[in-house]
């Protein structure tokens, strides 16, 4: 029986030793807290954050972006530090950033925790609604010492959105079905910024409140909600005309849905409308052109 006693003693001694060593190591927080004006090496962990940073004129300060950061075109030339869901912490550290900006998703919050533990400065912004976008731009502007430019950018986007609102007027009768994915069918629900986008340009989401942000729906709901317009987004690697043909074919079976009868099915590029960033007004305009083409004919 004594071998078990020995084993137990060894394990306890090991644990005790570990606790002692870890207590004796004083947690050193690196003293390289840089003031906002001196930040010169920024890593962006999402495409829309990259767009915000470029819009704030930080072209030279950005040292790392995610694989899918493709706008503005110069972003493609920046060093890649992994993708949004699977960031590469070694690559991030190799860029020697003095600020890492992440989004408020679980995976990214986790990354920020890990980086902070090693001693890097991180800024986490949550961008889910249009209001959050303005707050995020403000927060990033403050963190990098570009408040003025940030305020200018915010009021610029606001002004453009207001112009659009004025253009489309107060009429909100067009019912829009925003399709995220066709098989299985998923659409944008009410609790999304896409819903806000639809309402800005004078539409209303055909789908009522749901528990999911992007609810999966069945054919029954498609027919019951009677959308006037159906909008699909296309990724860049897809071919929009081909997708439009497929979409027409797919939706053709719902022949008593107004959008299908009136052939009001649109395919628009995903990056302007699914990234909540500085190109928001461009996205809103793209949607407006689908809903009210007559306003843009002049």
């Amino acid at each position: 029986m004594s071998k078990w006693l020995w084993l137990l003693l060894m394990i306890m001694a090991w644990m005790g030793l570990g606790l002692t060593i870890s207590n004796s190591q004083h947690k050193q927080i690196k003293g390289n807290q840089v003031s906002p004006n001196q930040i010169s090496r920024i890593v962006s962990m999402a495409p829309n954050l990259t767009e915000i940073l470029f819009a704030l004129g930080l072209d030279n300060e950005i040292v790392g972006v995610t694989v899918s950061s493709d706008y503005p075109p110069t972003a493609k030339e920046k060093r890649k530090i992994g993708n949004f869901w699977q960031p590469n912490i070694e690559a991030i550290m190799a860029t020697r950033p003095d600020l890492v900006i992440t989004l408020g998703f679980d995976q990214q919050i986790n990354l920020a925790h890990r980086l902070k533990r090693i001693g890097y400065t991180c800024l986490t912004v949550r961008i889910e609604k249009i209001k959050d976008l303005f707050e995020a731009i403000d927060a990033i502007g403050t963190a990098v010492g570009k408040q003025q430019k940030a305020h200018q950018l915010i009021s610029d986007i606001r002004a453009k959105l207001d112009n659009l609102r004025a253009l489309v007027g107060r009429d909100k009768t067009l019912k829009v079905l925003w399709v995220v994915q066709r098989e299985p069918l998923r659409v944008a629900g009410r609790d999304t910024f896409i819903n806000e986008l639809i309402e800005i340009v004078g539409g209303v989401n055909a789908i009522g409140p749901t528990i999911h942000k992007y609810p999966p729906i069945g054919a029954e709901q498609v027919i019951a909600c009677r959308p006037d317009v159906i909008i699909e987004t296309s990724e860049q690697h897809q071919n929009p005309p081909a997708q439009l043909r497929q979409a027409m074919q797919y939706w053709g079976r719902f022949d008593n849905v107004p959008a299908v009868t009136n052939k009001r099915i649109y395919v628009i590029p995903a990056d302007v409308v699914s990234r909540l960033g500085p190109r928001l007004s461009l996205g809103a305009e793209t949607v407006a052109r689908c809903l009210r083409p007559e306003l843009f004919e002049k």
Binding site: W14, I21, S22, N88, I89, A91, A94, D106, I118, I211
Partner: protein
Amino acid sequence: MKNETMKGLLTPGILARRTALAAAVLVAVMFVCSFIGSERISLKAVFYTAPDSTTVNPDHEIFVRVRLPRIILAAIVGAALACSGVTFQALLRNPLADPYILGISSGAALGATIAVLGGFDWTLWGRSPIAVFAFAGGLAAVWLVWSIGRMTGKFYITGLLLAGVVVNAFFSAIIMFLTSIAKSQQVHATIFWLMGNMVEEDFLVLWIGTGCIAGGITALFLISPQLNVLSLGEDDARSIGLNTTGIQTFAFTIAAFITAVAVSLSGLIGFVGLIVPHAIRLIFGPDHRQLFPLCAIIGAAFLVGADTVARTVVAPAQLPVGIVTAIVGGPFFLVLLIKYSRKVHWYK
């Protein structure tokens, strides 16, 4: 290489020599892998500090804070899964048994899913809620399966396996339900965890994890003669005076414990607990006295290698390590199976 498949031939000398050889392989693998990565770092830069040490040395920091902890984590998790696989295969007398067969995986996954959906924001001894819930969920599930299995009576091994299958299926259904009502961004976080999620861990976490897993493997090694007898069949074992129930309960508890520790450290990593024990058994024979030390070391080396591939193959992004263990491990195992299975008869 000689093939002594009869366990009578295993002498302490042979065991020590083989263990030393395996340990040398492990050290070599860990050394090589610590210099492979998406960022090239040089040995010189890692240990050289500039006289004006005001700037951080990124090579040193990447090596010490990220790469080394991750390699150590892979090593201890690989050792735990391989030894746990050996134990479950011996106890269930089923070559298809792996560490997750009795519901640990689905229990841990359910725990992790609940932790993600709950959105908790605390840490327990430096561990995230996901790790804590996964640990608790894994142990709870295996305890549930074990109790159900014991209730099925004399042929309880079949009962255990069936209970494991049913509990796995039931928990998976609950996980599916929870993820289908969850927000999509949370689902994503769970999915990556489920495929094996290796990150650099704190010193203390690694130290405690090493203690738990090394202690558990040593305990299993100490009962390996009894496991040898058990693998001949329970009735035979009992007839020569072995307390089979006591040994089984003890081995199950230890194996479940080290698996739960491994799962809480790195998520669900498949295949290690299946292919490493079989590979070692096919090459060196089924004696548990050598299976435990060799499987621990080779399991560690295998997972360190697999994780290095996962870190680098799609750089700058990374793969979940579970994908690599399955892709690398599957064909490798098949080759071994065809090559050696005619020579060795294990578990009739």
